[in-house]
C-alpha cells in the first residue's frame, strides 16, 4: 500500500550512485598513488637505480675498469678524472669508485631483496599463525613481539655476524631476522579484522570449509598489505645492511656494498670527500625513493592514516 512510486525512486537511486560508481580497490589505490607526485618521481628514480644495478657490468665495459682492477696511476684515492674515465675518482687501491659504487648498490639491493623476503616470510607466518590460531597462543605471541620490538636486535645481529662469518647467505638470513616484527603485527591485524569481517562470517555460515576460507579469502587479502609493508621494509633492511657493512660486518671482499664503501671513506672525508659522497648519494637516493614509494603505497591502500 505504499504511496510511493518505486520505479522513480530507483531511477533516483541510480542517479545518486552514478557519481560514486564503484571502482575496484586496486584501481582506486593506483589512482591515488599516481596523484602523489613525490611517489611517482621516486618510482622513476628507483627504476633508474634498479636498471643501473641490473646492467652493472655495462659500467665496467664503458669505463674499461673492473671492480678489482687497481689503477697504478691512481693509487691512494685520487679525485675524479674524466680523461682517465675515473668519473667519480678512485679509492685507496686505485680502483674506480663509480664501478664499485654501482656494484656495491647491486649487492645492497640483492641483500635487501632477499633479506626483506626472509622478513616477509617470517613476519607473515608469525602474524598469520598468531591471528588465525587466536586464544592464548595469540596473546603469548603478541606479548613476545611487543618485547622484541623494543629490543635492539641489530646488536644481536652484530654478534651473530661476528661469530658465524660473513658469508653472504648468513648476512641475508640475519638481516631478515632483524626486521620482521612490524610485518608480523600488520599481518596479524589484517587477519584478525578479516576473521571478524562479515563476508568471512557469511562464508562460514554457508559452510565453506576453513582451508578454502583461508586460501580464497584470507591469503589474497593479506598479500596486498604484506606487499605494501614489504616496500617499507626494504629501506629498513638496506639501512641495516649498510650499517653492518659500515662496521665491517657486512659482505666481504671481493664483494662490496654501499655501507662498506661509505665506511672506507668516512674517516678520510676531510681530505678525500669523494670517497664518501658517491656511495652516500646513491644510498640516500635509494632510501629516499623506497621510503616515498612505500609511504605512497600505504597511503594509497590505507588512506585513513593521513
Amino acid at each position: 500500500m505504499s504511496l510511493l512510486r518505486p520505479e522513480r525512486s530507483e531511477a533516483a537511486l541510480n542517479g545518486a550512485f552514478d557519481a560514486v560508481k564503484s571502482r575496484s580497490l586496486t584501481r582506486l589505490a593506483f589512482e591515488r598513488f599516481s596523484r602523489n607526485k613525490v611517489a611517482v618521481v621516486s618510482t622513476i628514480i628507483l627504476a633508474v637505480l634498479v636498471l643501473l644495478a641490473i646492467f652493472a657490468p655495462v659500467a665496467e665495459i664503458l669505463t674499461g675498469y673492473t671492480m678489482e682492477f687497481q689503477d697504478r696511476n691512481f693509487y691512494s684515492a685520487k679525485p675524479p678524472n674524466w680523461e682517465a674515465k675515473h668519473f667519480l675518482g678512485t679509492d685507496q687501491n686505485g680502483r674506480d669508485i663509480m664501478v664499485r659504487v654501482i656494484f656495491g648498490m647491486r649487492i645492497s639491493m640483492l641483500v635487501a631483496l632477499v633479506a626483506a623476503t626472509v622478513a616477509l616470510v617470517v613476519g607473515v607466518l608469525y602474524g598469520a599463525i598468531s591471528g588465525l590460531v587466536g586464544g592464548w597462543v595469540d596473546v603469548l605471541m603478541m606479548r613476545f613481539l611487543d618485547l622484541l620490538i623494543s629490543y635492539p636486535l641489530t646488536l644481536i645481529a652484530v654478534i651473530a655476524l661476528a661469530y658465524f662469518g660473513r658469508n653472504i647467505y648468513i648476512v641475508f638470513a640475519i638481516i631478515g631476522l632483524v626486521e620482521w616484527q612490524i610485518m608480523a603485527r600488520v599481518v596479524r591485524g589484517q587477519v584478525l579484522s578479516l576473521r571478524n569481517s562479515d563476508f568471512i562470517e557469511a562464508a562460514r555460515a554457508t559452510g565453506v570449509p576453513t582451508t578454502s576460507i583461508v586460501l580464497h579469502h584470507i591469503i589474497p587479502n593479506v598479500i596486498g598489505i604484506a606487499v605494501v609493508y614489504l616496500t617499507l621494509t626494504i629501506p629498513e633492511v638496506i639501512l641495516v645492511e649498510s650499517f653492518l657493512g659500515f662496521l665491517g660486518l657486512g659482505v666481504q671482499e671481493p664483494n662490496t656494498s654501499l655501507g662498506v664503501l661509505i665506511s672506507e671513506g668516512a674517516t678520510r672525508v676531510e681530505h678525500k670527500p669523494w670517497l664518501v659522497f658517491s656511495p652516500g648519494v646513491f644510498l640516500v637516493l635509494l632510501l629516499m625513493s623506497l621510503n616515498f614509494i612505500g609511504d605512497g603505497l600505504r597511503d594509497a591502500f590505507d588512506p585513513k592514516d593521513r
Binding site: 661476528a162 639501512l239 650499517f243 662496521l247 661509505i262 665506511s263 670527500p273 644510498l283
Partner: protein
C-alpha cells in the same frame, strides 16, 4: 603500577633469555678468545679455560656467570677443582701458571666471599688495578669478570670507561630529538596541509632519509672543510685579519678522541638526533592530528577555550602518547646510531668495545657490554611505561593498555 612492574619483570626475563642466548652461541660458535696468531701451549690453554670456567658444562658456566662461582684451584692440580655455588671461601687462592702471559704469572688473586656494594661502588671511583681483588661474584652482584683478550683488565673498568662516552651523546640527542620533534609535530598538525606542515615534515624527513653513517661524514666535510675554507677566506683574504688556527676557524666542531668541551657535543648530537627526529615529528603530528580532530577537542572549543589552552591541555597528552610508545624501540636506534658516531668521530664508548669484543671473541667483555646495553634498553622501557601510566589514566585503573 602493577602493570609497570609486570612489564619490568617481563623485560628482565627477556634479558636473561638474551644473555643465555648470547652466552651459549658464543661458546658454541667456532673459534675462541685464546686462539690468536700464536696459540698457547695446550696445558696453558687448559689452565686458561679452567680459569674462565670454560671447562665446565654450559649450564654450570651460565649459572656461575650469573650468580658467581667459588675460586677454583686451577694451577696446582692442573685439573678443575670443585665448584661451590655461592659459598665462596674467604681469601681463597687462585694462581695461573704460564710464562707467556707475564702480567698474570703466579699472581695471587683473591676472591672475596661477598661483594659488598660499598666496595663495589668504591671500585668505580678508585682505579689502582693492582689493589683490586679478583672477584668472581657473578653478574647479578655487579661483577662482569675479567676480559678474556686483555687479561688483566676488568670488564667493569671497560664499562666504566665506555658507558659515559655512550650516554654523553645518547641522552642529549634523545632530548634534542624530543624537544625539537614534538613541537615540530604539533606545529605541523596545527597548520595541517599548509606550508608550515610541509616544512616541518620535510625537515624531519631529512634525518630519516640521510642515514647517520652518511650524515656524519657529510657534516664533517661541510663544517671542517667548507667552514674552514670560508673563515680562512673571510678573516685572512677578505678582512685581512689575523690568521686563526684551524681549530678556531672550524669553531672546534669536530670531536677528536677524548678531548671534550661542550661544543663537541654539537655534531654527534646532531647526527644521532636527526635520525630520530623524523619519526618523532611524524608520530607527534599524527597523535596531535587525531586529538585535534577528536570530539573532546570540539567540546573544549565549544567551551570557548582559546587554541593555546586547548593545545597545551587537551592535545598535549594524546599527542605525545605515540612518541612515548616509540621511545622503547628508539633505544635500539640510539644504540646502533652511537656505534656509528663512535666510528665516525673516533669517540671512545661502549659501542666500539662491543664491536671489538664481538670480533675478538672476548666472551666476558661481550657479555658485559651486552648486559649494559640491555639495561639501557630496559631502563628506557621502564621510563616509557611509567610515562604511559602517568599520561593515560585508563591504564592506571584498569591495569593494561587498551
Amino acid at each position: 603500577m602493577a602493570y609497570v612492574f609486570r612489564r619490568f619483570g617481563q623485560m628482565l626475563i627477556l634479558v636473561v633469555i638474551a644473555l643465555a642466548a648470547v652466552f651459549s652461541t658464543q661458546r658454541l660458535a667456532p673459534g675462541g678468545p685464546f686462539d690468536g696468531e700464536k696459540p698457547p701451549p695446550p696445558e696453558i690453554l687448559a689452565n686458561l679455560r679452567a680459569y674462565y670456567d670454560m671447562d665446565l658444562g654450559m649450564p654450570s658456566q651460565f649459572m656461575g656467570y650469573l650468580f658467581g662461582m667459588a675460586a677454583r684451584d686451577v694451577g696446582q692440580s692442573g685439573r678443575p677443582g670443585r665448584v661451590h655455588w655461592l659459598t665462596i671461601p674467604d681469601r681463597a687462592k687462585v694462581s695461573i701458571t704460564g710464562s707467556i702471559y707475564d702480567e698474570l704469572t703466579d699472581d695471587d688473586l683473591l676472591v672475596r666471599k661477598w661483594c659488598p656494594w660499598d666496595e663495589w661502588l668504591s671500585r668505580w671511583v678508585s682505579s689502582k688495578p693492582d689493589q683490586r681483588p679478583l672477584r668472581k661474584c657473578g653478574v647479578l652482584r655487579g661483577d662482569f669478570g675479567l676480559s678474556m683478550t686483555k687479561r688483566n683488565i676488568y670488564v667493569n673498568d671497560y664499562v666504566r670507561d665506555g658507558l659515559p662516552g655512550t650516554l654523553k651523546y645518547a641522552v642529549p640527542s634523545l632530548l634534542f630529538a624530543l624537544f625539537l620533534g614534538v613541537p615540530m609535530g604539533f606545529l605541523a598538525a596545527y597548520f595541517q596541509n599548509t606550508r608550515v606542515d610541509f616544512a616541518m615534515v620535510s625537515a624531519g624527513m631529512v634525518g630519516t632519509i640521510i642515514p647517520n653513517l652518511v650524515m656524519g661524514p657529510i657534516l664533517i666535510y661541510l663544517l671542517a672543510i667548507q667552514l674552514d675554507g670560508f673563515f680562512h677566506w673571510l678573516f685572512v683574504d677578505y678582512l685581512d685579519w689575523v690568521e686563526l688556527s684551524r681549530r678556531q676557524r672550524t669553531l672546534n666542531l669536530i670531536p677528536s678522541g677524548k678531548s671534550g668541551g661542550p661544543i663537541h657535543y654539537f655534531l654527534p648530537t646532531l647526527v644521532l638526533g636527526t635520525a630520530l627526529l623524523g619519526r618523532i615529528v611524524r608520530l607527534s603530528r599524527a597523535g596531535a592530528l587525531e586529538a585535534l580532530r577528536s570530539n573532546y577537542v570540539r567540546t573544549a572549543r565549544s567551551k570557548g577555550l582559546p587554541n593555546w589552552l586547548i593545545l597545551f591541555r587537551h592535545v598535549l597528552k594524546p599527542g605525545i602518547l605515540p612518541v612515548v610508545t616509540y621511545l622503547g624501540p628508539v633505544s635500539a636506534v640510539i644504540l646502533t646510531g652511537s656505534l656509528v658516531i663512535e666510528y665516525t668521530f673516533s669517540l671512545p664508548g661502549l659501542g666500539s668495545q662491543f664491536i671489538s669484543a664481538a670480533t675478538d671473541r672476548d666472551y666476558t667483555l661481550l657479555m658485559g657490554t651486552t648486559v649494559i646495553l640491555l639495561v639501557f634498553v630496559i631502563v628506557l622501557n621502564f621510563i616509557v611505561d611509567l610515562l604511559y601510566t602517568w599520561l593515560d589514566p585508563r591504564i592506571r585503573t584498569e591495569g593494561s593498555p587498551t
